[in-house]
Amino acid sequence: MFKIDMIRFNHNGETQEYKFSEHCFVYGKNTRGKTALTIAIDYILGSSDKLTYQGLDNIDSMEALLKNDKTSLWIKRTVNESGYFYKRTEESEYSEISSDTYKDNICLILTDIRNNRFIEIYNKVFDEHPSFRSFNFLNYIEEKGLGDLSTVFTKAKELKHNIRIRNIMNFFFNFENIEQIYEKELLLDSKNRELDKLSSGYQEYNRSKAEQKKIFKELQLDYTGKYATDYKTFCDFRDSYVRKTKTKSKDLVYLSQASFSLAEEIKIYNFMKNQSNNMVTRKERIKRLLSIINDIVNDEPEYESYTNFIKDTIRTLDEENVILSLSDYNKAIRDIEKEKQQLDNQIEVLKATSEKLSYEDAMKKVGLLEHLFIVLKEEVDIVKYSNLSQEVDKLKKEIKELKASFNQKKIKDFNNRLTENYLGNDLDIKHLQDDAKEDGFSLEFDPFRLCLFAKHKVGENIVNYMPGSMARQTHIQMLVYLTMFEYLKENFMGFIYMPLLVIDSANQPMGVDSFEKVYPVIIDMADRIGIQTIFMSKDKIGGIEDKDFIDISEGLNRFHKS
């Protein structure tokens, strides 16, 4: 199990040391340095804030010994120069390193079995390389946020952390979707690269094909779209400059009339489609107006006689209108447009037939076609391009859907566990006993709003409410942190969060009696999960072993000038 074994303050060759057990109890009255100790721990663990806290003055540097079951790490930070140092054994010299390497070294000692996959996915999702400091909101329950269930994680009170923490909660509770998004995005990247390679060739192919079709039309040559056939047609023309006349086409006048008539039909269908749409919205408007009038009459029945004429007229007007909404106008319009397009194509061909083609123009077009046939001869795998495009579109759609969806199961399980952790211990504490008796009582932590509320039954319904009493709120708050660690241990084994919980003055809202009962339960749970705890308290309670007890009644920092 990871733990902070010792912290040392250095000043002018003198030192002051504090040794920490797995579950420390730090006792001291007001202004003795409990909060200062929290800040000192955060500082030695790599906080980017400067050490300006009043109670930590005159400290030149701080050291810490970090241990896990297999190894240990000495770390040191100087205060004024802001230097970072580490060494592997007590006897060796400190080596100066960058702050990133400092944090990386600490990360390496946090867990025996490191899972890099979580880090890779985190990196991809947040576009940043995480360290344990990204999750340090899990490590501190600060005095100023004690019992505040509207923002359970006290560090989330600062706006700069709030949004980041919500995103991290999404990562923790929606990881399966995020993992899928990650994998699909990797696949999308690779498909896009493949598509880019094919793309320029494909686009030139398409352009050339369209140009070829146009020139064939201008030369009144039969266009089939098949390379071999079209090339033969072109070669025959190039050799003889003879164009075949089309004998079986209808005359131009007939085709123009037919096309015009279809255009008129399209206009009519569009008009009827619009009328149909208007009918639908008109019905909604009528409904709205009737609803307003009925509302007034319901409030004041004596006005009914004034509104009868209006209501009767509206109903009459509604019935008189023809129902136009049944036909599929879109399909009819599409079919007619398709037919018209065919006619228009024939008209174009006939028009081209009637035009004279000069020798120079013909030569130019032949020259162009020769070039186009060379381009078209290069094989472009249209099928592959089309398949790839479809795959890319499908992947984009899937990624979008995954981003929008969310799996509630994990949160539900978490909340069930939290409620179990809270009610499971049969402690003789008033607020707990009251809640255990509540019908349908449960706790619900919302990881996206970072707030917690309770639920209970009122009549037939389950109703949310904010639980009262600071003692209850603080108790629940501590359990949220620990249940969060429990969740991470089960679902994110090997991830780089620090298994440490520092709680500042949690005893205060509870009263000594309650705190004495709650404390051992909290410690048991932390021990079971493998979390080191450091409790700061103004009250001494019984049952604390000497090895776990740190007394700072004389003041935390002996170099402090009061």
């Binding site: 008109r282 408007r285 009528i286 709205r288 107006l289 307003i292 009038i293 509302d295 007034i296 409030d299 004041e300 004596e302 006005y303 006689s305 004034y306 509104t307 009868n308 004429f309 209006i310 007229t313 509206i314 007007l317």
Partner: protein, 142 residues
């Protein structure tokens, strides 16, 4: 009834009496209700001066928004009509209003004052619609 409601009712009373008097002499309950409502909330006087759009379109175009917020005003209008009916100033039979007691009235309403001084008079032009046509226009814009 609170003070705001009372003031509103007084404003509608002003409008209704003006519409009952010359030159408007509106004799349809339907027209009275919708005209009074639209006149009370009419602020866009400039459009009536420009004449680029039909008076009817300008008059009814925002009725949807106005009804959204103030539909309860229709009750105030009907309350005024009820008072006039009970005090035997008018008689109402189905949609028809008959004036029982002649009265002349000078309006305080700014829109009606503006219309009184205009030729053509927008309210008189809109009054050419019958009750059914007015309902059609209201449906179109609501």
């Amino acid at each position: 009834m609170n003070l705001n409601d009372l003031i509103k009712e007084a404003e509608y009373a002003d409008i209704i009496l003006s519409l009952l008097s010359e030159p408007y002499e509106i004799n349809s309950v339907t027209k009275m209700i919708f005209f009074s409502f639209c006149i009370r909330y009419e602020e866009n006087f400039a459009s009536y001066r420009k004449r680029s759009r039909d008076f009817v379109d300008v008059f009814f175009e925002n009725i949807s928004l106005k009804l959204d917020v103030n539909y309860k005003d229709l009750e105030r209008i009907m309350s005024v009509l009820r008072m006039l009916e009970k005090t035997r100033k008018i008689a109402i039979n189905k949609d028809s209003i008959q004036i029982l007691e002649e009265f002349s009235y000078n309006t305080e309403n700014e829109f009606i004052k503006m219309c009184n001084g205009k030729t053509p008079n927008p309210i008189l032009e809109i009054n050419k619609l019958d009750a059914t046509a007015v309902i059609e226009e209201v449906i179109r814009y609501v």
